[in-house]
């Protein structure tokens, strides 16, 4: 990385080329002013992401300190911390928040376990000419509608459905709708988001490192554990950002296969129209969890390998 303010420095006299006309003149002028170039590069994205997006978020969380008219459900702008007190002191919100956190972690764990062998196979084992095709195979389900996939799982998990039918010879039956079903379905929905980063991480492993490990007499498992795993850990962490945060905010799949379970997303959603300030206060819970998670993940360098 370059020192601050340096930017790619052009050689005096070498910036020539047969540049004529206003565009080229402009480009050349820009080239001599890295600060100006940076400003131009950043002004549009900053306006969008920081001013518009973060601004909207901040406005929402500011409204968490407001209250509603019990009569009309309109937002009344009187400053109060009552909503946060309610969120913190109501036991059901704690239960729901912890259940949601547990679900998100479980989904992430399941996805890591399932994604690893698939990614390993697509990135390092399968014949090189098949690799792209395999990645296509992994990505295709992303295009099938989320809702339709969730409903398909509803059939699979139904009483006497395909899963029960397949497990019957073994004397078992499926989990039915509920928390385990929800974790399964969420893990299914977000699986490609885990496979892809791990695939990319594995594909980028330099072959010579693996060769070296093998030359030093390391067996498959040993190479995997002490060479491969540490090197793709950031990729795993990157994938987990998706599986974790998408599970944390989901409220639709939960309704379809969750039985009577509810997650924090459902609670936020149910309060939006009648009590927006309370919904906003509840919304700070997943936001805080995600931000903490991202900060923790950033230490692994995962955000650079997203």
């Amino acid at each position: 990385m370059r020192p601050a303010g340096a930017g790619p420095v052009g050689r005096p006299g070498a910036g020539g080329g047969p540049g004529r006309g206003p565009v080229r003149a402009f480009v050349r002028a820009l080239h001599r002013r890295p600060r100006l170039r940076l400003t131009l590069l950043l002004s549009a994205p900053l306006a969008w992401l920081v001013v518009a997006y973060l601004g909207a978020l901040a406005a929402l969380f500011l409204s968490a300190f407001w209250t509603t008219d019990p009569f009309t459900s309109d937002v009344v702008r009187t400053w109060t911390t009552a909503n946060f007190r309610e969120v913190l002191t109501t036991s059901v919100y704690w239960h729901v928040a912890l259940r949601t956190l547990g679900t998100a972690l479980a989904v992430t764990a399941v996805d890591i376990v399932v994604a690893f062998p698939i990614a390993f196979w697509t990135a390092r084992v399968a014949a090189a000419r098949h690799r792209n095709l395999l990645v296509v195979a992994v990505l295709t389900p992303l295009w099938a509608s989320y809702l339709v996939k969730a409903y398909a799982w509803r059939i699979i998990l139904s009483a006497g459905g395909p899963l029960d039918w397949a497990l019957k010879p073994l004397g078992l039956s499926g989990p039915g709708y509920g928390l385990p079903a929800m974790i399964t379905v969420l893990a299914y929905l977000w699986l490609p988001y885990m496979i892809l980063p791990i695939h990319a991480g594995l594909a980028n492993l330099p072959e010579d490192v693996l060769e070296a490990a093998a030359d030093l007499g390391a067996r498959s498992w040993r190479t995997f554990r002490s060479v491969v795993l540490p090197m793709v850990l950031p990729s795993v962490a990157a994938g987990s950002v998706f599986t974790f945060s998408l599970s944390l905010g989901d409220y639709i799949a939960v309704q379809i296969v969750g039985g009577k379970t509810q997650l924090i997303g459902n609670v936020v959603y149910s309060d939006i129209t009648l009590d927006l300030p309370l919904a906003a206060a509840l919304g700070t819970v997943p936001v805080a969890v995600v931000v903490l998670y991202l900060l923790a993940i950033r230490r692994t360098g995962a955000l650079d390998s997203l």
Binding site: V75, A159, G259, K260, L278
Partner: protein, 403 residues
């Protein structure tokens, strides 16, 4: 060093953001108030006196299946004929829940909404819905009298909408799995139910009224007169009953498809339902039956309401008149599976037994049905010495019941 810079950057960004945040934010508009008489006084608005020239377009918020233009099912099209006759182009936004409807209407972009009773009073109280001059809706005269000027579509004798269609929340059960056949809501509220894990209930705070309805009969000492007017003590009893029921619930349902598939597979064997769900499940050979239990039932009666900020009021009036015209009301009732509001509609249904199947105009039947009404602090049963628990609290209680 890097950390400090990072913090400074974050702080700078936050300052900018907060400055912006204070500039924009939530909204609050003109809204109603509670008079000294304890009655609901919506914001003063007068209904339109005469119809003006039509504006060429109308924006509607509706339940799925209420505003069909044939694009999903070529046989269901009552939008194109309307557009041809009136010159009003229809734009529709499908709402999934009553809450969606309320928030969409608050945006002020829509002219009319097919509100259910758990939304209508909210819209009226907040000043989002305007009174309707029923003289400008010629077909209103043929609407069943039992649906006119009710608690969920009027305030103080002023109509706030045109009835669209209605139905009851019945008790459905699998004939092969549930015996004896249930005749009381006690079946879904029993503590030690043999059907534990396979009972279903409607996933909405308004379901609290079903518990209140049951308590009306079984615990007369609570003095519940109307399941939508619960003081704190009555409310707590209903919540306690649903908490106890939660242990036996397999899943809560909110969309009709989920309910049909659950009863077909046997994941659910007993619980609340709508007539259309019964019919669909039976047509797919699921062994189910539905009854109107001895305690009666809750039900819904949908109302087309006008927005107070309607930009196309004249086209909206044209739509109100159109949707309750006999033929169209018959079409939409049959497509959706509910009793039509217009009594002449029964002559136009494709299935001649339709109105009988849905008990349209059967006043003895519907006398036992409590139609959804938004609970507000002013008890809708007329009590003035207590405050009733408003709907926002029902929502929070519903969250805590589900746990």
């Amino acid at each position: 060093m890097r950390a400090t810079r990072h913090l400074a950057a974050t702080a700078a960004a936050l300052t900018a953001v907060l400055a912006l945040a204070t500039a924009c934010g939530g909204s609050s508009g003109g809204s109603g108030s509670v008079g000294s008489d304890g009655k609901l006084h919506p914001p003063k608005m007068t209904a339109q006196r005469t119809l003006g020239p039509r504006e060429g377009a109308v924006n509607l918020v509706a339940w799925a299946g209420y505003v069909e233009d044939g694009s999903d099912d070529p046989k269901a099209d009552w939008v194109h004929p309307f557009e041809q006759q009136t010159g009003c182009t229809v734009h529709v936004k499908i709402a999934g829940t009553s809450d969606d409807m309320v928030s969409l209407m608050k945006t002020g972009q829509y002219d009319a909404v097919s509100a259910s009773g758990d939304a209508s009073l909210r819209l009226i109280a907040a000043g989002d819905a305007a009174p309707v001059n029923t003289d400008l809706v010629p077909n209103y005269k043929d609407v069943f009298d039992g649906l006119k000027l009710q608690a969920w579509n009027s305030v103080g004798g002023v109509a706030y909408g045109i009835p669209h269609g209605y139905g009851a929340n019945l008790l459905m059960y699998r004939t092969d799995k549930v015996s004896p056949a249930p005749t009381s809501w006690g079946a879904v509220f029993a503590k030690d139910s043999p059907y534990k894990g396979h009972i279903t209930a409607y996933d909405s705070p308004i379901y609290l009224a079903d518990a209140a309805l049951y308590l009306m009969r079984t615990r007369p000492e609570l003095g519940i007169k109307n399941p939508y007017a619960l003081d704190q003590k009555q409310f707590d009893a209903a919540v306690a009953l649903l908490r106890q029921q939660n242990a036996n619930i397999g899943e809560y349902w909110s969309d009709y498809l989920k309910e049909v598939s659950a009863f077909k597979s046997g994941d659910s064997v007993l619980g609340t339902t709508w007539q259309v769900i019964v019919n669909t499940a039976q047509s797919e050979k699921a062994p189910v039956k539905a009854v109107l239990p001895s305690e009666g039932a809750t039900g819904w009666s949908d109302t087309w309401m006008l927005s107070a900020k309607a930009k196309h009021p004249n086209c909206a009036y044209a739509w109100l008149n159109w949707i309750v015209s006999p033929q169209v009301n018959a079409q939409v009732a049959e497509y959706f599976g509910e009793a039509p509001a217009n009594r002449l509609a029964c002559d136009h249904t494709v299935d001649k037994g339709f109105c009988a199947a849905y008990h349209a105009g059967d006043s003895a039947y519907y006398r036992r049905v409590w139609f959804w009404t938004t609970p507000i602090p002013q008890c809708v049963d007329g009590r003035k010495d207590v405050t009733c628990v408003p709907y926002a609290k029902w929502v929070q209680a519903w969250t805590s019941i589900k746990g």
